[in-house]
Amino acid sequence: MAKRKATINQKQCVACGCCMKVCPRGAIAIPNGVCAQVDKGLCVGCGLCARECPASVIALEEVAE
């Protein structure tokens, strides 16, 4: 079964850090203040970040295992 993971549209990410704050797994980081990055290994696809993101640039996408 395919799993859902948070995917960030890096072009439109404003690097505000809202996603990082709500992530229960600490799977999101904003290296060098450029844009948010998801550690796909840690992401459980809960969608909290996608709901929080003020720019709505996070989507849950299915990734093949």
Binding site: K21, G33, V34
Partner: protein, 196 residues
């Protein structure tokens, strides 16, 4: 899942206090210069957006009022607000108005103009604010800067509040000039350092 609160999760209290203090004595506006220089210094020296990510009291205030208290429609912001044109355009506009404010302050310092005890909301509406002015030990320009700077902060708070109601709680973060600028600095810094 509840995450452990840290000291900086309470910085919204400072933001709120600052706004309230401006109603009593306008000179407190000088304090908010910290919120101007700290994010820039963090971006320039450390090369990250820790200010937005952790310390921004205004963002916390919006997420508290819009999120916890539910004063937000929680809808997506329109596409044009996220566009680079709007974000950079707003940054340029904001800074043009900021330098205009500095110029007006200079005129008062230089004695070419009298102190105006008004707060200008949304760059247009002049609100009488004389009750918050009790004189200054220094030049009138010191007070003029306070009125000008408080105008900037109040305007951006009002804008942020409106977009909080209409869209997601922290919609302000999408077009916040400080956020755009610090991200720009970080991007530039990162591009140059990875080239070496």
């Amino acid at each position: 899942m509840k995450q452990k609160k840290r000291w900086y999760d309470y910085l919204w209290i400072a933001s709120l206090t600052y706004l309230i203090l401006g109603f009593f004595n306008i000179l407190f506006a000088w304090l908010e210069l910290l919120c101007f220089f700290i994010p820039l210094l963090i971006a320039v020296i450390k090369g990250n957006k820790a200010y937005c990510n952790k310390y921004c009291g205004r963002g916390q205030l919006f997420s508290l009022v819009g999120g916890r208290f539910g004063l937000s429609r929680k809808k997506d912001v329109p596409q044009w607000i996220k566009s680079a044109y709007f974000r950079y355009g707003f940054l340029i506009f904001f800074f043009t108005m900021f330098f205009l404010m500095l110029w007006n302050t200079y005129l008062v310092f230089a004695g070419a103009r009298d102190l105006r005890t008004t707060v200008t909301l949304l760059w247009t509406f002049k609100l009488p604010w004389h009750w918050a002015y009790h004189g200054t030990l220094f030049s009138d320009g010191v007070a003029q800067f306070a009125f000008g700077f408080y105008s900037v902060m109040l305007t951006s708070t009002v804008l942020g509040f409106v977009t909080m109601l209409l869209f997601k709680p922290r919609s302000w973060c999408v077009y916040c000039p400080m956020g755009t600028m610090t991200q720009l600095i970080c991007k530039a810094k990162h591009t140059f350092s990875s080239r070496e």
